[in-house]
């Protein structure tokens, strides 16, 4: 039984996970994040301007 387990364990292939390095995707994410931040900041600017009594 033990031998059987050891034998099968020995045969188990190791799977190596490598993180894909895709600079295009990263750049795209950064760009999208930046655009979202700009949008949010513009909304906050409006709030501060129109509701100065709340901030």
């Amino acid at each position: 039984m033990l031998l059987l387990i050891l034998a099968t364990a020995a045969c188990t292939p190791t799977v190596q996970l490598a993180a894909p390095k895709d600079p295009i995707t990263i750049n795209l994410n950064v760009k999208i994040q930046h655009e979202i931040l700009v949008k949010v900041d513009r909304e906050i600017d409006n709030l501060l301007e129109e509701n100065s009594d709340l901030f």
Binding site: I36, L37, K39, V40, D41, R42, E43, I44, N46, L47, L48, N51, D53, L54, F55
Partner: protein, 111 residues
């Protein structure tokens, strides 16, 4: 000429009168270090012995802020949480020297 001048004065008076009564109180409460800007885009109580009035001021301000954040977050297509965090950063950034700000550990620190 004089008429136009008078009208402008009137408009200014009316505008001032239309400001909510607690507009000054918020500013005062911040300057006096009774309240401060938290990290989450809302004001929090700094003083150890807050009055009932201060409690209701904070609740009132924060309720109104939340309603605005909800709308604006939708406009910017982000979650309320994201909007609140960014608002917190911005509000702490524009706070005046001497006012209290909440840090990452939840401690109040004078700017």
């Amino acid at each position: 000429m004089l008429h136009a001048y008078k009208r402008v004065i009137w408009i200014m008076v009316l505008l001032l009168a239309s400001l909510p009564a607690w507009a000054l109180s918020l500013e005062q409460a911040k300057t006096q270090g009774l309240i401060g800007e938290q990290l989450n885009g809302y004001v929090g109580i700094v003083t150890a012995s807050p009055s009932t009035e201060l409690h209701s001021l904070v609740t009132d301000i924060n309720q109104q802020r939340r309603a605005l954040y909800q709308q604006s977050a939708q406009e910017a297509s982000v979650t309320l949480e994201v909007f609140e965090i960014r608002a917190g950063q911005r509000l702490q950034g524009r706070a005046k020297t001497g006012e209290y700000l909440q840090d990452q550990n939840g401690q109040w620190r004078r700017k």
